[in-house]
C-alpha cells in the first residue's frame, strides 16, 4: 500500500492539472455550455484536489512514521552526452509542503464558491486556481534546480493570470505586469546562479551541488567568493518570489486580484516558495557565511520594512500584504541564521493563519460590498468599516484568532514559530534579534489597529462624507474607476454564506493549535523536518530559563503593541492623527511605502522606456538610414529610378534569377 502511494505520488500535481485542462478546454471550445455548468466545474476541480490532499496527508503520515525519502526520475532532455532528468522526491520537507498546499488550496476553493458566486469569470477562476495548485505542487516535489525553476516560473504565470483576473480594471492590468516582470528580475538571478553552479559542479541536484561545491572550494579549485556569489544569485530568486527587499514592490499591488488568490498565492503558498527554495538549497548556502549573512539581513530588513509600512495602510488587503512581507522576512531571516526548521515551521503556521486572515478580509469586503457597492476603493477601506463584529461574528472571531496567532500570543500558532526564530536569531547575532523583536511589537500594534478599525467601534460604512473623500482621493489617482450599478446600499453589512465561513472556521483550528506540534520541549516538527546532515540529537536540548526569557520578552512587546493599539483605536485615549501630525515626515515615509514605487518608476521604468526609444531611433535613422541611403545612391546612379517609381523592381530578382539560369544553360552546352 505504502509503495503504491509513493509510486503514484506524481498524481498529486497531475490531478489538479487534469482538472484545469478539462475545464480550460471546455472554456475554449464550448464556452457557453461550460459556463452554464458553473458549479459542476468547481465540483470536479474540488474532488480532484481533494484526492490530491488525501494522498498528501497519507504521505505526510508515512513520513512521520519514518519512511525513507523516495525519489523517482526519468530522462527529460538529452543532447549528446548531456542528460537532464526530471522526477519527484518525497521527503519530510516535501510532504509537509504538500499537506500545506493541498489543504489551503482546498479550503480556498470552497471559499471561492461563495466569494465569486456572482462573477462572470467564476469557471475561469476555478481553472486558474487548479492550474496554480498543480504548479505549486510540482514545485515542492521537484528533485532538482531546473525543475524548481520550471515550476517557479509557472506559479509566477498563474500569479500573473490571477492578479490580472479582472482585466478591465486598469490597476489590475498594471499590477499583474509588475508582478511578472519583478519576478523575472529575480529569475534572472536564479537562472544565472543555476548556470554558475552547474558550470562549477556539473549537476543540478541539490545535494550533489552542495557536496561538490564544498569539495571544490576546500580543494582550492574554485574561489570561495565565486561560490558565494553564485549562492547570492540563486537567492535573488527567493528575493523576488518571497517579496523581499528590494524586490518586494509587486506584492502589495498584487492585491488587485480577487481575495481568494491573495490568500492562497500571495500569503500561504507561492510567496513561501522562496523560503522553500532556500531550504532546498540549504546545503549549498550553509557553508558560506557571506551568503547566510546576506540572507539573514535581507530577511531582517524586509521584516522591519513590511511592518513599518503596514502601520499606516488603510486598505485592509494592503495592510495584510505588508504584514505578509514582514512575516516572510522573518522566515528568510530564520533561514539565514541557520534556523532551518524554525523558518519552515513559521512557514507552516503562517500559511494557515495568514490564509485565514486574508479570507476574513475577503469576507469583510464581501459584506461591505452590500453596503458600498462593488468598488474596491470603498469596500476595502478600513476608514469605512468599524463595528463589523456585530454583523459578522464568525468572521470577527476567526480574525481575532488569526491576530493573536500573528502577534505571537501563546498558545496560538505564531507564538511557537516566531519565538523559535527569535531565539535562533539571538544565538546568531543579537542585532538581528533586536530587529525581529522590535518588529514583533510593531506587528502586534498594526494587526490590532486593523482589528479595532474593522470590527470594533461604530459602523462608518454609510457615512457619505468619508465615502466622498475617499472617492475624491482615489479619483485623483485612478480616474474614478467606479463600477457602481446603483442597485446596492443595504444599510447593514451581513455575514457571508456558509461556503465562506466554513473554511474560516476550519482554518481557525490549525491557526490556534498547530504551533503545539513544535513546542520547544517536545519539537515534533523539528524531529520531522531538519536541515540535511544535521543530527536530531543535537537539536533536542531544551533550556527552560532561556525559553522563558525569550518568550517573555517577545510576548511582552507584543502585549505592549496590542495595548497601544487598543488605546489609540479602541479607547481613543490617544489620537493617532495627532501623532501622525507630530512626526509628519516619518508618517508620510511609511504611508508612501518608503517611496519605492516612485523611485523604481523614475529609474527603471522611465529609464528602460528612454533607452528603448533611443534604440529604435538609432535603428530607424542610423541602421536603416544607411541602408536606404545606399539603396538610393545605387538606384539613382544606375538610372534605375524609373523601376523604383513604377514599383517593378521584381525585375531585379528576375534578372538575377535569369542570369543564374543562363549560366547553367550555357555551361551545359
Amino acid at each position: 500500500m505504502e509503495s503504491f502511494l509513493y509510486d503514484y505520488a506524481w498524481l498529486i500535481p497531475v490531478l489538479p492539472l487534469l482538472g484545469a485542462a478539462l475545464v480550460g478546454i471546455g472554456l475554449i471550445s464550448v464556452n457557453n455550455v461550460t459556463n452554464k455548468l458553473r458549479q459542476l466545474n468547481a465540483v470536479v476541480i474540488l474532488v480532484l484536489i481533494g484526492v490530491a490532499m488525501t494522498m498528501s496527508f497519507a504521505l505526510l503520515w508515512s513520513q512521520l512514521q519514518g519512511h525513507a525519502p523516495y525519489t523517482q526520475s526519468f530522462e527529460w532532455a538529452a543532447a549528446g552526452s548531456f542528460r537532464l532528468t526530471m522526477g519527484y522526491i518525497i521527503d519530510p520537507l516535501t510532504s509537509v509542503m504538500l499537506a500545506i498546499v493541498t489543504s489551503v488550496a482546498l479550503l480556498v476553493m470552497i471559499y471561492t464558491d461563495g466569494y465569486m458566486a456572482h462573477d462572470p469569470g467564476y469557471v475561469r477562476f476555478y481553472a486558474y486556481l487548479s492550474i496554480f495548485s498543480a504548479s505549486m505542487l510540482g514545485l515542492v516535489i521537484s528533485p532538482n534546480l531546473v525543475q524548481v525553476y520550471i515550476f517557479w516560473e509557472l506559479v509566477g504565470m498563474c500569479s500573473y493570470l490571477l492578479i490580472g483576473f479582472w482585466y478591465d480594471r486598469k490597476a489590475a492590468a498594471d499590477a499583474c505586469q509588475k508582478a511578472f516582470v519583478t519576478n523575472r528580475v529575480g529569475d534572472f538571478g536564479l537562472l544565472l546562479g543555476m548556470l554558475g553552479l552547474y558550470w562549477a559542479t556539473g549537476s543540478f541536484e541539490f545535494a550533489v551541488i552542495g557536496e561538490r561545491l564544498e569539495e571544490l572550494v576546500s580543494s582550492g579549485a574554485l574561489a570561495g567568493g565565486l561560490a558565494a556569489f553564485f549562492g547570492i544569485l540563486v537567492f535573488l530568486g527567493p528575493v523576488a518570489k518571497s517579496a523581499q527587499f528590494p524586490l518586494h514592490v509587486w506584492l502589495p499591488d498584487a492585491m488587485e486580484g480577487p481575495t481568494p488568490i491573495s490568500a492562497l498565492i500571495h500569503a500561504a503558498t507561492m510567496v513561501a516558495a522562496g523560503v522553500f527554495l532556500i531550504a532546498r538549497m540549504y546545503p549549498v548556502f550553509e557553508p558560506f557565511p557571506l551568503v547566510m549573512n546576506v540572507i539573514a539581513w535581507t530577511g531582517a530588513l524586509t521584516a522591519f520594512l513590511g511592518a513599518s509600512i503596514a502601520i499606516t495602510q488603510n486598505d485592509i488587503k494592503k495592510g495584510l500584504a505588508y504584514s505578509t512581507i514582514s512575516q516572510l522576512g522573518y522566515m528568510v531571516m530564520a533561514m539565514g541564521c541557520g534556523a532551518y526548521s524554525a523558518g519552515l515551521f513559521h512557514l507552516m503556521t503562517h500559511a494557515y493563519f495568514k490564509a485565514m486572515l486574508f479570507l476574513c478580509s475577503g469576507s469583510v469586503i464581501h459584506g461591505m460590498e452590500a453596503v458600498v457597492g462593488h468598488n474596491p476603493v470603498l469596500a476595502q477601506d478600513m476608514r469605512l468599516m468599524g463595528g463589523l463584529r456585530k454583523y459578522m461574528p464568525i468572521t470577527a472571531t476567526t480574525f481575532l484568532i488569526g491576530n493573536l496567532a500573528i502577534c505571537g500570543i501563546p498558545p496560538f500558532a505564531g507564538f511557537w514559530s516566531k519565538d523559535e526564530i527569535l531565539g535562533s536569531a539571538f544565538g546568531a547575532n543579537p542585532a538581528l534579534w533586536l530587529v525581529g523583536w522590535l518588529t514583533a511589537g510593531i506587528t502586534a500594534f498594526y494587526m490590532f489597529r486593523m482589528y479595532f478599525l474593522t470590527f470594533e467601534g461604530p459602523f462608518r460604512g454609510t457615512d457619505t462624507t468619508i465615502q466622498g473623500e475617499l472617492m475624491a482621493a482615489a479619483g485623483a489617482i485612478a480616474g474614478g474607476g467606479s463600477d457602481d450599478h446603483g442597485d446596492h446600499h443595504d444599510a447593514k453589512p451581513h455575514e457571508s454564506p456558509w461556503t465562506m465561513t466554513l473554511p474560516l472556521a476550519i482554518l481557525a483550528i490549525p491557526s490556534a493549535l498547530i504551533g503545539l506540534a513544535g513546542v520547544p520541549w517536545h519539537n515534533r516538527f523539528e524531529h520531522l523536518v531538519h536541515a540535511p546532515g544535521e543530527a536530531i540529537a543535537a537539536l533536542a536540548e531544551f533550556d527552560q530559563t532561556e525559553f522563558l526569557i525569550m518568550a517573555g520578552s517577545s510576548v511582552g512587546i507584543g502585549l505592549i503593541g496590542i495595548a497601544l493599539a487598543g488605546l489609540m483605536y479602541s479607547q481613543k485615549a490617544i489620537d493617532p492623527k495627532a501623532i501622525a501630525q507630530k512626526i509628519q515626515p516619518l508618517y508620510n515615509f511609511s504611508l508612501n511605502k518608503w517611496y519605492f514605487d516612485e523611485l523604481y518608476d523614475r529609474v527603471f521604468v522611465v529609464g528602460t522606456r528612454r533607452i528603448a526609444r533611443q534604440m529604435l531611433e538609432i535603428d530607424y535613422r542610423v541602421v536603416d538610414g544607411a541602408v536606404n541611403f545606399t539603396g538610393l545612391v545605387t538606384v539613382v546612379t544606375g538610372q534605375g529610378l524609373k523601376y523604383f517609381e513604377n514599383g517593378r523592381v521584381q525585375f531585379y530578382a528576375l534578372i538575377i534569377f535569369a542570369a543564374v539560369l543562363g549560366f547553367v544553360v550555357v555551361s551545359s552546352l
Binding site: S29, E153, A612, V660
Partner: protein
C-alpha cells in the same frame, strides 16, 4: 546513381508545385474551391512527409538519408540530389506543418485567390527544396526561386507601403544571395575537381585565409535571412506590410533557412573559419537579443513589435551555433523549430486581430479583452510561449543554449560570464515588451473610439483550430523536449564533434589532462537513478 527506394523527397518537393500548376484550370465560382484544393494538397504533402520519414528515416543514423541523385548537367556535375539528415529533416516537417496551416490562415484572402494559392504552393515546394537539396548550385537556385513568390505575395497582397517593403526585401536578400553564388562557385571550382556536391565540397581542404573569406560571404547572406544585426532592417518593413499567411511563412520558415544554412555551410563546410568567427557570432547574437528587445519595446506598431521580437529570439540561435557544445547546438536547433511555431502563431494572431480592429497601432486599441475573450486567451498563450515560459518549447531551447554556452570550454570564463549575463537580460526584457503589449491591447477599459467604429467579434473556430494546432507541438516539446531533440541528436552530435576538432584551444586541451573543474563539468550526467 539512382535511388533504390521510392523517391519520396522529389515527390514531396514537386507535388505542391505540380498541383499548383493545375490551379488556373480549376473552376472556381465562389472562391471556395481553390482554397479547399490548396489546403488538401498541402495536407497530402504533409502526410507524405510524415509517412516518408516515419518509414524511411533512421533516427540513430547521423548521415544523409532518403538520398536521391539524378545527373542533370554532367559537364559541371550539376545533379538533382536531395537527402535529409537530422539538420534538415525537422525543418522539412516544420515547413509542411506551418505552410499547411498558413494555407488555412489565408481564408480571408479574396484578391486574386488563384494566384495567391499558386504562390503558396510554389513556396511549399521551394522551401522544402532549400532544406533538402544537397547540391550547392541547386541550393542557390531554389534559394532564389523561393524569393520570387515571397516578393510577389508581399507586393500584391501587402499593406500600404507594400512596394517599398517588397523592394527592400528583394534587394536585401538578392544582394545577400550574390555572396552565396560567389562563394559557391569558388568552392566548386577550388582544387582539382569541379563539383557542386555538398559533401564533396565539404571534404575539400581550403586554406584558412580562403575559408575566412568564404565564411564572411556566407555569413552576410545568411545574416540577412536570419536576420543578424545590422542586416535586419528589411524584416520589420516586410512584416509590417505582409498579410497573415505571409507572416507565418516569413517568421516560421524563411528565417530558419538562414539558421539552417549557417549550420550546414558555415559550420559544416568551413569549420576552421567557424572556430575563428564563432566569438563574432556570439557577440552578434547578444546584440540581437538585447538590441531587438529594446526596439521591440519602443515599437507602437503591433506587427513591427513582433518582428523585432523575432530578431531578438534568433540571437539565441547564433549563440547556440557558436557554443561548440552538443547542448548549445541542440538548443540552437530547437530554438529554430520552436520559434517557427511560436512566431507563426503570434503573427497569425496579429493578422486575426487586425482583421477585427483594422489598426495595428497600440494606441488605438485597448480593453479589447471584453469582447474578444478567446482571442485574449490565445494571445496570452502565444505571448507566454514567446517569453520562454517553462512548459513550452521556447524555454527548453533557451535553457539549452544557456547551459550549453555556460559550460562551453571553447571560451574564457570572463567572456562566457559577460555573454550569459547580457543574454539573460533578454529574459527580463522579453516579458516587458510582450506583457505591455498584451496590456495595451486587451486590459483596461474599452477604447471608446475603437468600439464606436469597429464591430469586434471573437475568433472563429477555424482560428482557434490553427492556434490549437500550433500550441500542441509548442507545449508538447515544452513538456517533453526529447520528442524533438532525439530527431536530430545524432547528426548534431557528429557535427559538434567534427567542429570541436577544428578549434585550436580544444584540440590542445584534449591532449593535456583536464583541470579539476573541467573534469567535473565534463561529466554532466545528473540523476543517477
Amino acid at each position: 546513381m539512382n535511388a533504390t527506394h521510392f523517391p519520396w523527397l522529389t515527390v514531396i518537393i514537386l507535388f505542391p508545385l505540380l498541383a499548383g500548376l493545375l490551379l488556373p484550370i480549376i473552376p472556381d465560382k465562389d472562391g471556395k474551391t481553390v482554397r479547399w484544393y490548396s489546403l488538401i494538397v498541402g495536407l497530402i504533402d504533409f502526410v507524405f512527409i510524415v509517412y516518408a520519414f516515419y518509414t524511411g528515416y533512421d533516427l540513430s543514423e547521423p548521415g544523409l538519408q532518403l538520398v536521391e541523385s539524378y545527373t542533370w548537367i554532367p559537364d559541371i556535375d550539376l545533379k538533382w540530389s536531395v537527402g535529409v539528415d537530422g539538420l534538415s529533416m525537422p525543418l522539412v516537417i516544420l515547413t509542411g506543418f506551418i505552410t499547411t496551416l498558413a494555407m488555412m490562415a489565408a481564408w480571408p484572402v479574396t484578391l486574386k485567390p488563384k494566384l495567391f494559392y499558386f504562390l503558396m504552393l510554389a513556396m511549399y515546394g521551394g522551401q522544402i527544396a532549400v532544406f533538402a537539396v544537397q547540391d550547392l548550385l541547386l541550393f542557390f537556385l531554389v534559394w532564389e526561386l523561393e524569393l520570387v513568390p515571397v516578393y510577389l505575395i508581399l507586393s500584391i497582397w501587402g499593406g500600404k507601403k507594400r512596394l517599398y517593403a517588397a523592394t527592400k526585401f528583394i534587394l536585401y536578400t538578392a544582394g545577400g544571395s550574390l555572396f552565396i553564388l560567389a562563394a559557391a562557385l569558388t568552392m566548386a571550382f577550388y582544387g582539382d575537381t569541379v563539383t557542386f556536391d555538398m559533401s564533396a565540397i565539404a571534404a575539400k581542404d581550403y586554406g584558412l585565409g580562403l575559408q575566412l573569406i568564404l565564411y564572411a560571404g556566407f555569413l552576410i547572406a545568411y545574416g540577412v535571412k536570419l536576420p543578424i544585426f545590422p542586416l535586419h532592417t528589411w524584416l520589420p518593413d516586410a512584416h509590417g506590410e505582409a498579410t497573415a499567411p505571409a507572416h507565418m511563412l516569413l517568421a516560421g520558415i524563411l528565417l530558419k533557412m538562414g539558421g539552417y544554412a549557417l549550420i550546414r555551410m558555415n559550420v559544416g563546410m568551413l569549420p576552421d573559419a567557424h572556430a575563428r568567427f564563432a566569438p563574432v557570432l556570439v557577440i552578434l547574437g547578444v546584440v540581437n537579443i538585447v538590441y531587438a528587445a529594446f526596439t521591440s519595446f519602443a515599437q507602437r506598431n503591433l506587427k513591427r513589435k513582433i518582428a523585432y521580437s523575432s530578431i531578438s529570439h534568433m540571437g539565441f540561435v547564433l549563440i547556440g551555433i557558436a557554443s561548440f557544445t552538443e547542448l548549445g547546438m541542440s538548443g540552437a536547433m530547437l530554438q529554430m523549430i520552436s520559434h517557427g511555431l511560436i512566431g507563426a502563431s503570434l503573427f497569425f494572431m496579429v493578422g486575426a486581430t487586425y482583421d477585427r480592429t483594422h489598426t495595428l497601432m497600440l494606441d488605438e486599441m485597448g480593453g479589447v479583452g471584453k469582447t474578444m475573450k478567446k482571442a485574449f486567451a490565445m494571445w496570452t498563450a502565444c505571448s507566454l510561449a514567446s517569453l520562454a515560459l517553462p512548459g513550452m518549447s521556447g524555454f527548453v531551447a533557451e535553457l539549452m543554449v544557456f547551459v550549453g554556452f555556460a559550460t562551453s570550454d571553447a571560451y574564457s570564463t570572463t567572456f562566457r560570464v559577460i555573454v550569459v549575463i547580457l543574454a539573460a537580460v533578454g529574459v527580463i526584457l522579453t516579458p516587458i515588451y510582450l506583457l505591455s503589449m498584451l496590456r495595451e491591447i486587451f486590459y483596461g477599459e474599452e477604447n471608446k473610439e475603437l468600439v464606436s467604429h469597429e464591430k469586434l467579434v471573437d475568433v472563429e473556430p477555424r482560428e482557434v483550430f490553427i492556434i490549437g494546432a500550433l500550441l500542441v507541438p509548442i507545449i508538447g516539446i515544452g513538456l517533453y523536449p526529447k520528442i524533438a531533440t532525439q530527431i536530430y541528436d545524432s547528426t548534431l552530435t557528429q557535427l559538434t564533434a567534427m567542429v570541436r576538432g577544428h578549434v585550436p584551444t580544444l584540440v590542445e586541451t584534449a591532449k593535456t589532462p583536464p583541470p579539476a573543474i573541467a573534469g567535473v563539468s565534463m561529466a554532466p550526467t545528473i540523476g543517477p537513478d
